[in-house]
Amino acid sequence: MLKEDCASTLKVHLAQSLPLPSNVNRPRIDLIVFVVNLHSKYSLQNVEESLHHVDATFFLGKVGFLATGAGQDNHCSIHRNTVLRLAHTYRSPLFFCDLEVEGFRATMAQRLVRMLQICAGHVPGVSALNLLSLMRSSENPFLEDV
């Protein structure tokens, strides 16, 4: 993501889980991406527990889920539908991207940077909420809001 050309200053915070240590001063967080490794049940469990520590306002377009490892079907211990359901529950977009593959990684990074710019309010005329409703309208028809 840092390799992308971006007019704004970009900072990436990496954490194994939430909540973050509280004794640190941090700039405003504009986007949270939860990375789920489909090969590991603990990955999903960790994300589910971390989600409880996220303030509700983030779920208005400032949260995304990234599932990696879908390409190696025989190593997956989490079903695709499980993460789809999780993303649906939290009303947030879900991306599938095998982070091991250079090309996919680069494309994903691009998308995330664009998304981040919108969430930070750096793109005039588009807000995080706009983006969210735009993305949702093209979502999987099986998981429609009831």
């Binding site: 840092l2 970009l10 900072k11 990436v12 915070h13 194994q16 973050l20 240590p21």
Partner: protein, 339 residues
Amino acid sequence: MDETVAEFIKRTILKIPMTKMMTVLKAWDFLSENQLQTVNFRKRKESLAQDLVLLCEENGVSLNDAALLDIIYTQFHRHQRVWDLFQMAKEPGEDIDLSDMEQFKSSFKKILQRALKNVTVTFRDTEENAVWIRIAWGTQYRKPNQYKPAYVMYYSQTPYAFISFSQLRSNTPLLCQALTIASKHHQIVKMDLRSRYLDSLKAIVFKQYNQNFETHNSATHLQERRLGLDINMDSRIIHENRIEKDRVHRVTQEIFGDYSQPRLEFAQYKLETKFKSDLNGGILAEREEPLRCLVKFSSPHLLEALKSLASAGIADAPLSPLLTCIPSKGMNYFKIKDK
């Protein structure tokens, strides 16, 4: 010349990859420089082998020479065989007898020849007071099968031998007996250490793995670490769990050290323990007999994989001592019983 010897040499040559052909032939030192120069190494392997066999015939090649070529091939491809560690012991109170290497060799050969009329035994000395022994087994009535040999690598100043058995398993006790008697020991025990990587086994047994060699491996390792540092030094990446990361890194360094780990492909744990469970009842709980279970960890490089588990977030640091004791105890087969 014996047809079978020619065939044996041809088949051995065909096994050698073209990239190593010159190196192996030079190590064998049976064909002269001039002879090797007359050969066209760009031919198809089949006809190259035939040319080389003809040259060998001119030199009057013997079965012993052919066996030596097989030893050299195996030395270059030692990872194609699986090696077991054996340790010999003398009677308590006996002095270490610095026996003669030549005496050992002739004694070893005699013992095998007395037991089985037909057996081919070949020796090749290496540096570090070690000898490679190749044994091709026959029976009282059949000539030795040259294509299923056993190999022994014996360090004469130590009680250790590495044995790679042939597929003809029935000769195992005889081999062990011959080795023990010829080296003037009283007992031989198979240790719980086995791997394809003979050099790693040596490093573990002789405790030579905890040194920082300036090998290619350690050089690239350092380079990777330097790159890793650079990426982390980018001030735009902030690690929220820095303290924990550093602790894990420190604990891993303490346990595994800074050096390359010796290479093993697996560790096997045989459990004979009673089943313990937090849940009350359940099918497996409250049984008197121990649960029999086998756990096997496999990897192209097991110890390096274990070393990277904690920093990859897959396991807690410190790792279980059952895993980390492998090089220090010199074992990769474990039996675990309730105390």
